[in-house]
């Protein structure tokens, strides 16, 4: 079987100095800049007034009672359940009780929720704008070059990833174009930023995307557009259907069976 001849492309050694390093350095610098920009733009968490805190924490209290009812005796649980169900259903903990049952307010009309959305927008913008700029910069100046050869072999599938912008069918996938180097930098600089800026930096977009996903349930609970009255009613129902048992039932038997002196 004939060996496939090793492809050699004679590259200007200056390519390294003028393309590879500039792109890398620019990427790192924008990452650092983005981190500091988002630190600057971060608005302090808004102060909640007492009634909002009361509303949110009462709901949490209800959830706690539902989750940990087994720590109580039957009687103390029943007292709490009755009190909480009555209060939840009558809307005693609501921020403004007279608005109960009017359905959820329009999230856009609420200034406090607008602020949250603005914060999200700002974050998104801080990510999108520099990326677009750098990408168009690279496209304008460096598109169509092959800048380096990876030191390890790759399968043909990587061709579209590594040789974006270079329309050559038969080239070995180990050759890499400048735009692909840019993409590699986006995903690969995470650990560099961790080293430079500390682990909770805002430069790494992966973390931002993950954070967006992780924070969603928490934000959803008290977020805009959620009707607290409905939440309270649902929680009251959850509480009402609990069948009580206590962790203290038969604890002596468990203890005597489990502990040997």
């Amino acid at each position: 079987m004939a060996q496939v001849p090793v492809q050699t492309i004679h590259r200007d050694p200056q390519l390294f100095c003028w393309i590879l390093f500039p792109i890398t350095i620019v990427m790192i610098l924008t990452g650092v800049l983005r981190h500091y920009a988002s630190v600057l733009m971060q608005s302090a968490p808004k102060k909640l007034d007492q009634k909002t805190i009361r509303e949110q924490r009462s709901l949490l209290h209800g959830i706690n009672v539902r989750g940990n009812f087994h720590a109580l005796s039957k009687k103390s649980f029943a007292t709490r359940r009755d009190a909480l169900v009555t209060a939840f259903e009558s809307g005693a903990y609501l921020k403004d009780p007279e608005r109960a049952g009017q359905g959820q307010p329009n999230p856009l009309s609420d200034p406090s929720s607008m602020e949250g959305m603005m914060g999200m927008m700002k974050n998104q913008m801080a990510m999108i704008i520099p990326n677009t700029l750098i990408m168009s910069w690279i496209n304008a100046f460096f598109s169509g070059y092959v800048i380096m050869k990876l030191p390890f072999p790759l399968t043909i599938k990587f061709k579209s990833m590594l040789q974006a912008g270079v329309m050559t069918k038969d080239m070995d996938p180990r050759w890499m174009s400048s735009i692909s180097w840019y993409f590699l930098c986006i995903f690969g600089l995470q650990s560099v930023f961790n080293f430079l800026l500390g682990s909770d930096n805002a430069a790494s977009q992966m973390a931002q995307q993950m954070g967006g996903m992780g924070a969603a349930p928490g934000a959803q609970m008290f977020g805009p557009g959620v009707d607290p009255d409905k939440q309270f009613k649902a929680e009251a129902e959850n509480l009402a259907v609990i069948e009580h048992y206590s962790v203290l039932d038969d604890v002596e038997a468990r203890l005597l069976a489990g502990i040997a002196v």
Binding site: K47, D49, R57, S58, L60, S73, L248, E252, A253, L256
Partner: protein
């Protein structure tokens, strides 16, 4: 283990606090701006507390200044520490009243400042106005019912006033927040035991309290099988139950805990006695792995055991 400035245990023995406060000159020597770390500010805060305990107000004020320079005087936690400092420096009741007025003024502007609210409650309590403190705590818990610290403080307040059922209620709320806290289980058992043994309590509820106390202590031991207070309480309850077995009334089943049969109680009693004497023996000999016990607690356990030995 040597006390560290990075942690702030709630019950630091006086000698350890003194040891911490003596580190003040060394810590305050360094300039605060040089390479900021997370630990640095925790160190300042705990040093401040230790210095206040040992009466070194000067060093405490220095720590305070640094914290204030870093976080700003309007940070809630810094405000509370500043309040603590001025409470410590206040001479006599009149100045304490002035501090209290300051707290009121702060809370007027921002009613959700929880650190200051708590300082105000603590100040009220230390000035002897216990019922004011209790009502302020109830107010705090009305809008923030998920605060375990406040619930346990409320429980302690009610307990000092002899209101056992309220104290038990408050402590149950703590358990709802942290259902596996064995110290809270044991504390609840202690409260129930005290409620049961206090005279003047209607005779009807006494076995109920004792039954639950027994179960609370048992649960606490189940969660932490070396917990001295749990065994101590268990021993107390079983002793009093075994003593009063004769006049035990027939129990009705209305959703309450029922006492286990006398054989189980006897076995629990044996278990508690054995474990207590093991703990006492080992910690008197200062064996390896048995050193963490409080000396006074061990002494109390020894006393309890010797009392029982005489009775038998």
């Amino acid at each position: 283990m040597a006390p560290s400035l990075l942690y702030n245990p709630t019950k630091l023995p006086p000698s350890a606090a003194l040891q911490l406060a003596q580190q003040a000159p060394r810590v305050l020597q360094g300039s605060p701006s040089s390479s900021e770390t997370v630990d640095q500010w925790a160190t300042y805060e705990n040093l401040l507390l230790a210095c206040l305990r040992t009466g070194d107000d000067e060093a405490a004020a220095k720590c305070m200044d640094r914290l204030e320079a870093r976080f700003g005087a309007d940070n809630e936690r810094v405000m509370a520490l500043r309040g603590l400092l001025s409470e410590a420096q206040a001479q006599g009741n009149r100045e304490l009243e002035a501090v209290l007025k300051q707290y009121d003024a702060i809370l007027e502007g921002n009613s959700t400042n929880i650190p200051i609210t708590k300082r105000r409650i603590a100040l009220l309590r230390s000035m002897g106005r216990v019922s004011d403190a209790a009502s302020a705590l109830v107010q705090l818990l009305d809008f923030s019912p998920t605060d375990a610290e406040a619930w346990s403080e409320l429980s302690d307040l009610y307990f000092t006033q002899g209101l056992y059922s309220q104290a038990i209620y408050a402590l149950e709320e703590v358990l709802l927040l942290s259902p596996n806290a064995w110290n809270i289980h044991a504390r609840l058992g202690e409260l129930q035991y005290m409620a049961a043994t206090t005279s003047g309590n209607g005779g009807g509820s006494q076995p109920r309290y004792l039954a639950e106390a027994l179960k609370r202590f048992a649960r606490s031991i189940e969660l932490c099988d070396d917990y001295l207070r749990g065994y101590y309480g268990l021993k107390l309850v079983t002793t009093s139950l075994l003593k009063e077995q004769a006049k035990q009334a027939k129990q009705t089943d209305d959703g309450e805990f029922t006492l286990p049969d006398s054989k189980t109680i006897e076995r629990l009693d044996e278990l508690a006695t054995a474990k207590l004497s093991e703990i006492v023996r080992h910690s008197t000999l200062k064996d390896r792995g048995w050193r963490g016990y409080d000396e006074r607690e061990v002494a109390a356990a020894r006393e309890l055991l010797s009392q029982n030995g005489i009775e038998r």
